[in-house]
Homo-oligomer: 297 residues x 2
Protein backbone atom coordinates (compact mmCIF):
# COMPACT_ATOMS: atom_id res chain seq x y z
CA UNK A 1 0.00 0.00 0.00
CA UNK A 2 1.17 3.50 -0.69
CA UNK A 3 -0.34 6.46 1.07
CA UNK A 4 -2.24 9.15 -0.73
CA UNK A 5 -0.28 12.38 -0.61
CA UNK A 6 -1.91 15.29 1.16
CA UNK A 7 -1.01 18.20 -1.06
CA UNK A 8 -0.77 21.20 1.24
CA UNK A 9 0.49 23.45 -1.51
CA UNK A 10 -2.61 22.80 -3.57
CA UNK A 11 -5.00 23.18 -0.62
CA UNK A 12 -3.26 26.40 0.46
CA UNK A 13 -3.69 27.69 -3.09
CA UNK A 14 -7.43 26.94 -2.95
CA UNK A 15 -7.66 28.79 0.36
CA UNK A 16 -5.78 31.76 -1.10
CA UNK A 17 -8.33 31.87 -3.92
CA UNK A 18 -11.12 31.82 -1.33
CA UNK A 19 -9.37 34.61 0.60
CA UNK A 20 -9.00 36.73 -2.54
CA UNK A 21 -12.67 36.20 -3.32
CA UNK A 22 -13.76 37.18 0.20
CA UNK A 23 -11.53 40.24 -0.04
CA UNK A 24 -13.25 41.31 -3.25
CA UNK A 25 -16.64 40.79 -1.62
CA UNK A 26 -15.66 42.88 1.42
CA UNK A 27 -14.59 45.63 -0.93
CA UNK A 28 -17.70 45.54 -3.10
CA UNK A 29 -20.23 45.09 -0.34
CA UNK A 30 -18.73 47.07 2.55
CA UNK A 31 -15.98 49.15 0.98
CA UNK A 32 -13.56 47.40 3.33
CA UNK A 33 -10.04 46.15 2.73
CA UNK A 34 -8.45 43.63 5.15
CA UNK A 35 -5.19 45.05 6.46
CA UNK A 36 -2.18 43.15 7.78
CA UNK A 37 0.80 44.79 9.47
CA UNK A 38 4.06 42.91 9.87
CA UNK A 39 6.72 44.27 12.20
CA UNK A 40 10.26 43.12 11.53
CA UNK A 41 13.02 43.90 14.00
CA UNK A 42 16.63 43.55 12.92
CA UNK A 43 18.19 41.89 9.93
CA UNK A 44 17.73 38.16 10.46
CA UNK A 45 17.70 36.77 6.93
CA UNK A 46 15.11 34.04 7.52
CA UNK A 47 12.80 36.57 9.19
CA UNK A 48 13.19 38.95 6.25
CA UNK A 49 12.25 36.19 3.83
CA UNK A 50 9.13 35.31 5.82
CA UNK A 51 8.10 38.93 6.19
CA UNK A 52 8.54 39.63 2.50
CA UNK A 53 6.58 36.52 1.63
CA UNK A 54 3.72 37.58 3.88
CA UNK A 55 3.77 41.11 2.52
CA UNK A 56 3.83 39.99 -1.10
CA UNK A 57 1.05 37.47 -0.65
CA UNK A 58 -1.21 39.82 1.28
CA UNK A 59 -0.94 42.36 -1.56
CA UNK A 60 -1.71 39.69 -4.14
CA UNK A 61 -4.81 38.74 -2.17
CA UNK A 62 -5.98 42.34 -2.22
CA UNK A 63 -5.09 43.25 1.37
CA UNK A 64 -3.74 46.51 2.61
CA UNK A 65 -0.24 45.52 3.64
CA UNK A 66 2.00 47.42 6.01
CA UNK A 67 5.59 46.37 6.64
CA UNK A 68 7.44 48.08 9.47
CA UNK A 69 11.16 47.44 9.58
CA UNK A 70 12.90 48.44 12.80
CA UNK A 71 16.59 48.69 13.53
CA UNK A 72 17.98 45.73 15.47
CA UNK A 73 18.90 48.15 18.29
CA UNK A 74 15.40 49.61 18.59
CA UNK A 75 14.25 50.25 22.17
CA UNK A 76 11.41 48.26 23.70
CA UNK A 77 9.33 51.42 24.29
CA UNK A 78 9.61 52.27 20.60
CA UNK A 79 8.29 48.83 19.62
CA UNK A 80 5.42 49.19 22.08
CA UNK A 81 4.69 52.65 20.68
CA UNK A 82 4.47 51.22 17.17
CA UNK A 83 2.21 48.37 18.30
CA UNK A 84 -0.01 50.93 20.02
CA UNK A 85 -0.27 52.93 16.80
CA UNK A 86 -1.15 49.80 14.82
CA UNK A 87 -3.75 48.85 17.43
CA UNK A 88 -5.48 52.17 16.77
CA UNK A 89 -5.05 52.18 13.00
CA UNK A 90 -8.44 51.32 11.44
CA UNK A 91 -6.77 50.19 8.20
CA UNK A 92 -4.99 47.40 10.11
CA UNK A 93 -6.95 44.33 11.24
CA UNK A 94 -4.10 41.95 11.94
CA UNK A 95 -0.69 42.56 13.51
CA UNK A 96 2.32 40.25 13.43
CA UNK A 97 5.68 40.69 15.06
CA UNK A 98 8.20 38.46 13.33
CA UNK A 99 10.07 36.12 15.69
CA UNK A 100 12.67 35.98 17.05
CA UNK A 101 13.26 39.60 18.07
CA UNK A 102 16.65 40.81 19.36
CA UNK A 103 17.45 40.31 23.06
CA UNK A 104 16.49 43.78 24.34
CA UNK A 105 12.92 43.15 23.15
CA UNK A 106 10.62 41.25 25.52
CA UNK A 107 8.63 39.27 22.95
CA UNK A 108 5.96 38.23 25.47
CA UNK A 109 5.29 41.86 26.43
CA UNK A 110 5.09 42.87 22.77
CA UNK A 111 2.57 40.09 22.09
CA UNK A 112 0.52 41.13 25.10
CA UNK A 113 0.54 44.71 23.81
CA UNK A 114 -1.14 43.66 20.55
CA UNK A 115 -4.90 44.22 20.74
CA UNK A 116 -6.31 40.69 21.05
CA UNK A 117 -8.78 41.51 18.27
CA UNK A 118 -5.78 41.99 15.94
CA UNK A 119 -3.84 38.98 17.29
CA UNK A 120 -4.07 36.91 14.07
CA UNK A 121 -1.24 34.63 15.24
CA UNK A 122 -3.33 33.61 18.29
CA UNK A 123 -0.51 34.15 20.74
CA UNK A 124 -2.56 36.20 23.21
CA UNK A 125 -3.93 34.29 26.22
CA UNK A 126 -7.45 35.55 25.51
CA UNK A 127 -7.54 33.90 22.09
CA UNK A 128 -5.87 30.75 23.40
CA UNK A 129 -8.48 30.58 26.17
CA UNK A 130 -11.37 31.15 23.76
CA UNK A 131 -10.06 28.29 21.63
CA UNK A 132 -9.90 25.87 24.58
CA UNK A 133 -13.34 26.91 25.84
CA UNK A 134 -14.71 26.33 22.33
CA UNK A 135 -15.67 29.90 21.46
CA UNK A 136 -15.47 30.75 17.80
CA UNK A 137 -15.06 34.52 18.01
CA UNK A 138 -11.30 34.43 18.51
CA UNK A 139 -8.52 33.12 16.30
CA UNK A 140 -6.82 29.74 16.04
CA UNK A 141 -3.05 29.47 15.69
CA UNK A 142 -2.24 29.26 12.01
CA UNK A 143 -0.35 25.95 11.83
CA UNK A 144 -2.79 23.81 13.89
CA UNK A 145 -5.68 25.50 12.10
CA UNK A 146 -4.00 24.54 8.83
CA UNK A 147 -3.84 20.90 9.94
CA UNK A 148 -7.58 20.94 10.70
CA UNK A 149 -8.26 22.41 7.23
CA UNK A 150 -6.11 19.78 5.53
CA UNK A 151 -8.08 17.00 7.20
CA UNK A 152 -11.30 18.71 6.22
CA UNK A 153 -10.21 19.07 2.60
CA UNK A 154 -9.41 15.38 2.31
CA UNK A 155 -12.68 14.39 4.03
CA UNK A 156 -10.87 12.90 6.98
CA UNK A 157 -13.36 13.36 9.79
CA UNK A 158 -11.65 13.12 13.21
CA UNK A 159 -14.96 12.39 14.99
CA UNK A 160 -14.58 9.28 17.14
CA UNK A 161 -11.09 8.68 15.76
CA UNK A 162 -8.02 8.40 17.94
CA UNK A 163 -5.80 11.39 17.23
CA UNK A 164 -2.33 11.08 18.72
CA UNK A 165 -0.23 14.23 18.83
CA UNK A 166 3.51 14.03 19.38
CA UNK A 167 4.64 17.31 20.91
CA UNK A 168 3.13 19.79 23.35
CA UNK A 169 4.40 23.15 22.14
CA UNK A 170 2.28 26.26 22.56
CA UNK A 171 2.22 26.85 18.82
CA UNK A 172 1.35 23.34 17.61
CA UNK A 173 0.79 20.47 20.05
CA UNK A 174 -1.36 22.11 22.72
CA UNK A 175 -3.60 24.06 20.32
CA UNK A 176 -4.12 20.94 18.20
CA UNK A 177 -5.17 19.06 21.31
CA UNK A 178 -7.59 21.89 22.13
CA UNK A 179 -9.03 22.00 18.61
CA UNK A 180 -9.38 18.25 18.04
CA UNK A 181 -11.07 17.50 21.37
CA UNK A 182 -13.87 20.07 20.93
CA UNK A 183 -17.48 19.04 20.52
CA UNK A 184 -17.59 20.45 17.02
CA UNK A 185 -17.53 19.69 13.32
CA UNK A 186 -14.06 18.69 12.15
CA UNK A 187 -13.13 17.75 15.72
CA UNK A 188 -14.68 15.33 18.26
CA UNK A 189 -11.60 13.11 18.29
CA UNK A 190 -10.38 11.08 21.22
CA UNK A 191 -7.07 12.86 21.73
CA UNK A 192 -3.77 11.68 23.18
CA UNK A 193 -0.78 13.98 23.63
CA UNK A 194 2.71 12.45 23.83
CA UNK A 195 5.92 14.37 24.50
CA UNK A 196 9.50 14.09 25.71
CA UNK A 197 8.40 12.55 29.04
CA UNK A 198 6.19 9.92 27.48
CA UNK A 199 7.23 6.41 28.37
CA UNK A 200 6.98 3.95 25.46
CA UNK A 201 5.96 6.39 22.73
CA UNK A 202 5.30 3.57 20.28
CA UNK A 203 2.56 2.19 22.51
CA UNK A 204 0.56 5.34 21.77
CA UNK A 205 1.54 6.14 18.21
CA UNK A 206 0.66 2.65 16.95
CA UNK A 207 -2.91 3.22 18.20
CA UNK A 208 -3.37 6.42 16.23
CA UNK A 209 -5.94 6.68 13.47
CA UNK A 210 -4.58 10.17 12.94
CA UNK A 211 -0.95 10.68 13.93
CA UNK A 212 0.40 14.21 14.11
CA UNK A 213 4.13 14.73 14.58
CA UNK A 214 5.24 18.09 15.92
CA UNK A 215 8.28 17.33 18.00
CA UNK A 216 11.08 18.89 15.95
CA UNK A 217 13.18 15.75 15.54
CA UNK A 218 14.21 14.78 12.01
CA UNK A 219 12.49 11.58 10.84
CA UNK A 220 11.56 10.61 14.39
CA UNK A 221 8.45 8.67 13.39
CA UNK A 222 9.45 5.38 11.78
CA UNK A 223 7.18 2.86 10.07
CA UNK A 224 7.06 0.59 13.12
CA UNK A 225 5.51 3.45 15.12
CA UNK A 226 2.58 3.78 12.74
CA UNK A 227 -0.60 1.73 12.49
CA UNK A 228 -1.31 0.39 9.03
CA UNK A 229 -3.77 2.72 7.31
CA UNK A 230 -3.21 5.68 9.64
CA UNK A 231 -3.40 9.29 8.51
CA UNK A 232 0.02 10.82 9.16
CA UNK A 233 0.44 14.58 9.45
CA UNK A 234 3.97 15.87 9.66
CA UNK A 235 4.32 19.35 11.16
CA UNK A 236 8.11 19.18 11.52
CA UNK A 237 10.55 21.09 9.36
CA UNK A 238 14.15 20.16 10.10
CA UNK A 239 17.36 20.92 8.30
CA UNK A 240 19.69 17.97 7.93
CA UNK A 241 23.16 18.01 6.47
CA UNK A 242 23.27 16.83 2.87
CA UNK A 243 26.50 17.17 0.93
CA UNK A 244 24.80 16.18 -2.30
CA UNK A 245 22.66 19.32 -2.12
CA UNK A 246 24.13 22.59 -3.29
CA UNK A 247 22.89 24.34 -0.14
CA UNK A 248 24.63 21.64 1.93
CA UNK A 249 21.40 20.66 3.63
CA UNK A 250 17.92 19.38 2.90
CA UNK A 251 14.59 19.73 4.65
CA UNK A 252 12.97 16.73 6.33
CA UNK A 253 9.96 16.42 8.56
CA UNK A 254 9.48 14.62 11.87
CA UNK A 255 8.35 11.56 9.92
CA UNK A 256 10.55 9.12 8.00
CA UNK A 257 8.56 9.76 4.86
CA UNK A 258 9.87 6.95 2.65
CA UNK A 259 9.02 4.07 4.95
CA UNK A 260 5.93 5.57 6.62
CA UNK A 261 4.30 6.42 3.29
CA UNK A 262 4.22 2.69 2.54
CA UNK A 263 2.11 2.06 5.62
CA UNK A 264 -0.12 5.12 6.01
CA UNK A 265 -3.37 5.80 4.16
CA UNK A 266 -2.66 9.53 3.88
CA UNK A 267 0.55 11.43 4.49
CA UNK A 268 1.80 15.01 4.24
CA UNK A 269 5.16 15.57 2.55
CA UNK A 270 7.82 17.98 3.83
CA UNK A 271 8.05 20.48 2.28
CA UNK A 272 4.67 21.04 0.64
CA UNK A 273 2.43 19.53 3.32
CA UNK A 274 1.50 21.49 6.43
CA UNK A 275 4.01 24.29 5.70
CA UNK A 276 2.05 26.21 3.03
CA UNK A 277 -1.11 26.03 5.17
CA UNK A 278 0.29 28.28 7.90
CA UNK A 279 0.37 31.40 5.78
CA UNK A 280 -2.98 30.50 4.19
CA UNK A 281 -4.63 30.42 7.62
CA UNK A 282 -2.89 33.64 8.62
CA UNK A 283 -4.59 35.37 5.72
CA UNK A 284 -7.92 33.75 6.63
CA UNK A 285 -7.49 34.99 10.20
CA UNK A 286 -6.91 38.49 8.86
CA UNK A 287 -10.17 38.31 6.90
CA UNK A 288 -11.92 37.14 10.06
CA UNK A 289 -10.34 39.98 12.06
CA UNK A 290 -11.53 42.49 9.48
CA UNK A 291 -15.06 41.12 9.66
CA UNK A 292 -15.14 40.95 13.47
CA UNK A 293 -13.83 44.49 13.82
CA UNK A 294 -16.53 45.72 11.49
CA UNK A 295 -19.39 43.68 12.90
CA UNK A 296 -19.78 41.55 9.74
CA UNK A 297 -20.82 37.92 10.08
CA UNK B 1 -6.30 -5.94 46.68
CA UNK B 2 -8.21 -3.03 48.09
CA UNK B 3 -7.41 0.50 47.05
CA UNK B 4 -6.12 3.11 49.43
CA UNK B 5 -8.75 5.76 49.98
CA UNK B 6 -7.85 9.27 48.93
CA UNK B 7 -9.31 11.35 51.72
CA UNK B 8 -10.26 14.65 50.12
CA UNK B 9 -11.91 15.92 53.26
CA UNK B 10 -8.70 15.54 55.20
CA UNK B 11 -6.52 17.06 52.47
CA UNK B 12 -8.95 19.97 52.08
CA UNK B 13 -8.71 20.53 55.84
CA UNK B 14 -4.91 20.66 55.62
CA UNK B 15 -5.18 23.20 52.80
CA UNK B 16 -7.64 25.28 54.83
CA UNK B 17 -5.10 25.35 57.66
CA UNK B 18 -2.44 26.47 55.20
CA UNK B 19 -4.80 29.16 53.88
CA UNK B 20 -5.55 30.42 57.39
CA UNK B 21 -1.83 30.56 58.13
CA UNK B 22 -1.07 32.49 54.94
CA UNK B 23 -3.93 34.84 55.79
CA UNK B 24 -2.40 35.57 59.20
CA UNK B 25 0.99 36.18 57.58
CA UNK B 26 -0.51 38.60 55.04
CA UNK B 27 -2.08 40.48 57.89
CA UNK B 28 1.00 40.62 60.08
CA UNK B 29 3.51 41.34 57.35
CA UNK B 30 1.55 43.52 54.93
CA UNK B 31 -1.57 44.55 56.83
CA UNK B 32 -3.60 42.85 54.10
CA UNK B 33 -6.74 40.76 54.32
CA UNK B 34 -7.80 38.54 51.38
CA UNK B 35 -11.33 39.47 50.34
CA UNK B 36 -13.87 37.29 48.55
CA UNK B 37 -17.19 38.54 47.19
CA UNK B 38 -19.97 36.13 46.31
CA UNK B 39 -22.90 37.33 44.26
CA UNK B 40 -26.09 35.34 44.57
CA UNK B 41 -29.02 36.00 42.26
CA UNK B 42 -32.44 34.64 43.15
CA UNK B 43 -33.52 32.06 45.66
CA UNK B 44 -32.27 28.72 44.35
CA UNK B 45 -31.83 26.64 47.50
CA UNK B 46 -28.73 24.74 46.40
CA UNK B 47 -27.07 28.02 45.38
CA UNK B 48 -27.90 29.55 48.75
CA UNK B 49 -26.31 26.60 50.53
CA UNK B 50 -23.12 26.90 48.47
CA UNK B 51 -22.93 30.65 48.93
CA UNK B 52 -23.43 30.41 52.67
CA UNK B 53 -20.80 27.69 52.89
CA UNK B 54 -18.30 29.82 51.00
CA UNK B 55 -19.11 32.88 53.11
CA UNK B 56 -18.83 31.01 56.39
CA UNK B 57 -15.55 29.32 55.46
CA UNK B 58 -13.92 32.47 54.14
CA UNK B 59 -14.68 34.22 57.45
CA UNK B 60 -13.27 31.28 59.41
CA UNK B 61 -10.09 31.48 57.38
CA UNK B 62 -9.74 35.16 58.22
CA UNK B 63 -10.90 36.61 54.90
CA UNK B 64 -12.97 39.69 54.36
CA UNK B 65 -16.20 38.21 53.06
CA UNK B 66 -18.86 40.03 51.10
CA UNK B 67 -22.13 38.38 50.15
CA UNK B 68 -24.38 40.22 47.73
CA UNK B 69 -27.88 38.81 47.39
CA UNK B 70 -29.88 40.08 44.43
CA UNK B 71 -33.54 39.68 43.68
CA UNK B 72 -34.29 36.98 41.10
CA UNK B 73 -35.79 39.69 38.85
CA UNK B 74 -32.71 41.91 38.96
CA UNK B 75 -31.81 43.53 35.64
CA UNK B 76 -28.64 42.61 33.78
CA UNK B 77 -27.32 46.19 33.95
CA UNK B 78 -27.69 46.15 37.73
CA UNK B 79 -25.62 42.94 37.97
CA UNK B 80 -22.95 44.46 35.72
CA UNK B 81 -22.98 47.60 37.85
CA UNK B 82 -22.35 45.53 40.99
CA UNK B 83 -19.55 43.55 39.32
CA UNK B 84 -18.00 46.86 38.25
CA UNK B 85 -18.11 48.13 41.84
CA UNK B 86 -16.51 44.91 43.11
CA UNK B 87 -13.84 45.15 40.41
CA UNK B 88 -12.85 48.54 41.82
CA UNK B 89 -13.18 47.64 45.50
CA UNK B 90 -9.66 47.23 46.91
CA UNK B 91 -10.96 45.07 49.78
CA UNK B 92 -12.13 42.45 47.28
CA UNK B 93 -9.56 40.20 45.55
CA UNK B 94 -11.84 37.46 44.28
CA UNK B 95 -15.34 37.63 42.80
CA UNK B 96 -17.76 34.76 42.30
CA UNK B 97 -21.17 34.79 40.72
CA UNK B 98 -23.09 31.74 41.86
CA UNK B 99 -24.48 29.61 39.00
CA UNK B 100 -27.01 29.18 37.59
CA UNK B 101 -28.38 32.73 37.36
CA UNK B 102 -32.00 33.43 36.30
CA UNK B 103 -32.77 33.57 32.54
CA UNK B 104 -32.62 37.36 32.07
CA UNK B 105 -28.97 37.28 33.18
CA UNK B 106 -26.37 36.50 30.51
CA UNK B 107 -23.92 34.51 32.62
CA UNK B 108 -21.18 34.65 30.02
CA UNK B 109 -21.33 38.45 29.90
CA UNK B 110 -21.26 38.66 33.68
CA UNK B 111 -18.17 36.44 33.80
CA UNK B 112 -16.48 38.53 31.14
CA UNK B 113 -17.25 41.64 33.19
CA UNK B 114 -15.31 40.32 36.18
CA UNK B 115 -11.77 41.71 36.21
CA UNK B 116 -9.64 38.73 35.18
CA UNK B 117 -7.34 39.44 38.13
CA UNK B 118 -10.30 38.74 40.43
CA UNK B 119 -11.58 35.74 38.41
CA UNK B 120 -10.81 33.12 41.10
CA UNK B 121 -13.09 30.58 39.41
CA UNK B 122 -10.90 30.75 36.26
CA UNK B 123 -13.84 31.18 33.92
CA UNK B 124 -12.35 34.10 32.00
CA UNK B 125 -10.67 33.25 28.67
CA UNK B 126 -7.50 35.08 29.74
CA UNK B 127 -6.98 32.78 32.72
CA UNK B 128 -7.94 29.70 30.70
CA UNK B 129 -5.43 30.72 28.04
CA UNK B 130 -2.67 31.36 30.57
CA UNK B 131 -3.27 27.89 31.99
CA UNK B 132 -2.97 26.21 28.58
CA UNK B 133 0.14 28.22 27.67
CA UNK B 134 1.69 27.21 30.99
CA UNK B 135 1.86 30.63 32.64
CA UNK B 136 1.57 30.58 36.41
CA UNK B 137 0.34 34.13 37.01
CA UNK B 138 -3.33 33.33 36.42
CA UNK B 139 -5.70 30.98 38.22
CA UNK B 140 -6.60 27.34 37.69
CA UNK B 141 -10.23 26.19 37.87
CA UNK B 142 -10.88 24.99 41.41
CA UNK B 143 -11.98 21.39 40.81
CA UNK B 144 -9.19 20.35 38.40
CA UNK B 145 -6.69 22.19 40.59
CA UNK B 146 -8.04 20.19 43.53
CA UNK B 147 -7.42 16.95 41.63
CA UNK B 148 -3.80 17.98 41.01
CA UNK B 149 -3.38 18.76 44.71
CA UNK B 150 -4.85 15.41 45.76
CA UNK B 151 -2.36 13.57 43.56
CA UNK B 152 0.43 15.69 44.98
CA UNK B 153 -0.62 15.00 48.57
CA UNK B 154 -0.58 11.24 47.99
CA UNK B 155 2.80 11.41 46.20
CA UNK B 156 1.28 10.25 42.95
CA UNK B 157 3.54 11.83 40.37
CA UNK B 158 1.84 11.98 36.95
CA UNK B 159 5.18 12.40 35.13
CA UNK B 160 5.44 9.82 32.34
CA UNK B 161 2.20 8.19 33.46
CA UNK B 162 -0.78 7.72 31.20
CA UNK B 163 -3.59 9.93 32.50
CA UNK B 164 -6.93 9.19 30.89
CA UNK B 165 -9.68 11.76 31.41
CA UNK B 166 -13.31 10.87 30.74
CA UNK B 167 -15.17 14.06 29.94
CA UNK B 168 -14.30 17.28 28.15
CA UNK B 169 -16.25 19.94 30.02
CA UNK B 170 -14.88 23.45 30.35
CA UNK B 171 -14.84 23.22 34.12
CA UNK B 172 -13.18 19.81 34.56
CA UNK B 173 -12.08 17.73 31.56
CA UNK B 174 -10.42 20.34 29.37
CA UNK B 175 -8.61 22.16 32.20
CA UNK B 176 -7.35 18.84 33.60
CA UNK B 177 -6.00 17.96 30.18
CA UNK B 178 -4.28 21.37 30.05
CA UNK B 179 -2.82 21.03 33.55
CA UNK B 180 -1.63 17.41 33.28
CA UNK B 181 0.11 17.81 29.92
CA UNK B 182 2.28 20.77 30.98
CA UNK B 183 6.04 20.49 31.23
CA UNK B 184 5.92 21.09 34.97
CA UNK B 185 6.12 19.53 38.42
CA UNK B 186 2.99 17.57 39.25
CA UNK B 187 2.19 17.24 35.55
CA UNK B 188 4.18 15.85 32.57
CA UNK B 189 1.66 13.08 31.98
CA UNK B 190 0.84 11.51 28.65
CA UNK B 191 -2.78 12.60 28.45
CA UNK B 192 -5.78 11.07 26.71
CA UNK B 193 -9.21 12.68 26.69
CA UNK B 194 -12.28 10.51 26.08
CA UNK B 195 -15.85 11.76 25.76
CA UNK B 196 -19.31 10.98 24.43
CA UNK B 197 -18.00 10.50 20.88
CA UNK B 198 -15.20 8.15 21.88
CA UNK B 199 -15.46 4.75 20.22
CA UNK B 200 -14.62 1.82 22.53
CA UNK B 201 -14.10 3.78 25.74
CA UNK B 202 -12.76 0.72 27.54
CA UNK B 203 -9.85 0.49 25.12
CA UNK B 204 -8.57 3.77 26.57
CA UNK B 205 -9.62 3.53 30.20
CA UNK B 206 -7.96 0.13 30.70
CA UNK B 207 -4.64 1.74 29.69
CA UNK B 208 -4.84 4.45 32.33
CA UNK B 209 -2.31 4.66 35.13
CA UNK B 210 -4.41 7.57 36.38
CA UNK B 211 -8.08 7.46 35.43
CA UNK B 212 -10.18 10.56 35.99
CA UNK B 213 -13.94 10.33 35.56
CA UNK B 214 -15.80 13.58 34.96
CA UNK B 215 -18.65 12.63 32.71
CA UNK B 216 -21.67 13.05 34.99
CA UNK B 217 -23.02 9.50 34.62
CA UNK B 218 -23.72 7.58 37.83
CA UNK B 219 -21.30 4.68 38.32
CA UNK B 220 -20.27 4.75 34.66
CA UNK B 221 -16.79 3.36 35.28
CA UNK B 222 -17.00 -0.34 36.11
CA UNK B 223 -14.19 -2.62 37.29
CA UNK B 224 -13.63 -4.08 33.82
CA UNK B 225 -12.82 -0.57 32.54
CA UNK B 226 -9.96 -0.13 35.01
CA UNK B 227 -6.42 -1.44 34.88
CA UNK B 228 -5.33 -3.31 37.98
CA UNK B 229 -3.40 -0.93 40.22
CA UNK B 230 -4.67 2.27 38.59
CA UNK B 231 -5.25 5.49 40.49
CA UNK B 232 -8.93 6.34 40.10
CA UNK B 233 -10.18 9.89 40.63
CA UNK B 234 -13.92 10.38 40.63
CA UNK B 235 -15.06 13.93 39.92
CA UNK B 236 -18.72 13.03 39.44
CA UNK B 237 -21.48 13.82 41.91
CA UNK B 238 -24.80 12.30 40.88
CA UNK B 239 -28.06 11.92 42.73
CA UNK B 240 -29.64 8.52 42.38
CA UNK B 241 -33.01 7.45 43.72
CA UNK B 242 -32.76 5.53 46.98
CA UNK B 243 -35.92 4.73 48.87
CA UNK B 244 -33.96 3.44 51.84
CA UNK B 245 -32.58 6.94 52.41
CA UNK B 246 -34.74 9.47 54.23
CA UNK B 247 -33.99 12.08 51.57
CA UNK B 248 -35.15 9.60 48.93
CA UNK B 249 -31.80 9.75 47.13
CA UNK B 250 -28.10 9.15 47.65
CA UNK B 251 -24.98 10.61 46.08
CA UNK B 252 -22.79 8.49 43.84
CA UNK B 253 -19.85 9.33 41.66
CA UNK B 254 -19.07 8.46 38.06
CA UNK B 255 -17.24 5.37 39.32
CA UNK B 256 -18.80 2.13 40.59
CA UNK B 257 -16.93 2.50 43.86
CA UNK B 258 -17.52 -0.94 45.36
CA UNK B 259 -16.13 -2.98 42.51
CA UNK B 260 -13.49 -0.52 41.28
CA UNK B 261 -12.00 -0.07 44.76
CA UNK B 262 -11.07 -3.78 44.67
CA UNK B 263 -8.95 -3.22 41.58
CA UNK B 264 -7.47 0.26 41.93
CA UNK B 265 -4.40 1.22 43.96
CA UNK B 266 -5.91 4.55 45.03
CA UNK B 267 -9.47 5.79 44.79
CA UNK B 268 -11.47 8.86 45.76
CA UNK B 269 -14.83 8.28 47.45
CA UNK B 270 -17.98 10.26 46.66
CA UNK B 271 -18.72 12.26 48.74
CA UNK B 272 -15.51 13.18 50.55
CA UNK B 273 -13.07 12.83 47.64
CA UNK B 274 -12.66 15.57 45.07
CA UNK B 275 -15.70 17.51 46.33
CA UNK B 276 -14.15 19.18 49.39
CA UNK B 277 -11.08 20.19 47.35
CA UNK B 278 -13.01 22.60 45.14
CA UNK B 279 -13.72 25.09 47.90
CA UNK B 280 -10.22 24.63 49.32
CA UNK B 281 -8.68 25.66 46.01
CA UNK B 282 -11.11 28.56 45.69
CA UNK B 283 -9.75 29.96 48.94
CA UNK B 284 -6.18 29.34 47.78
CA UNK B 285 -6.97 31.20 44.55
CA UNK B 286 -8.26 34.11 46.61
CA UNK B 287 -5.00 34.24 48.58
CA UNK B 288 -3.11 34.20 45.27
CA UNK B 289 -5.33 36.98 43.90
CA UNK B 290 -4.65 39.08 46.99
CA UNK B 291 -0.91 38.59 46.60
CA UNK B 292 -0.88 39.27 42.85
CA UNK B 293 -2.95 42.42 43.25
CA UNK B 294 -0.53 43.68 45.87
CA UNK B 295 2.69 42.68 44.13
CA UNK B 296 3.60 40.05 46.75
CA UNK B 297 5.41 36.90 45.65
Amino acid sequence: MTAQMIDGKMVAQKIHEETAKETRLLREKYNLQPGLAVVLIGEDTASQIYVNMKGKLSKELGFFSDKIVLDKDVAMREVLHIVEKLNKDPRIHGILVQSPPPPQIDEEKVIEAIDYRKDVDCFNAINVGKMLIGKTDGFYPCTPYGVIKLLEYYNINPSGKHAVIIGRSNIVGKPLMALLVQKAMGADATVTVCHSRTVDMKHYTTQADILIAAIGKPEFVKADMVKSGAVVIDVGINRVKDDSSKTGYRLVGDVAFEEVSKKASFITPVPGGVGPMTIAMLMQNTIKACKLQNGIK
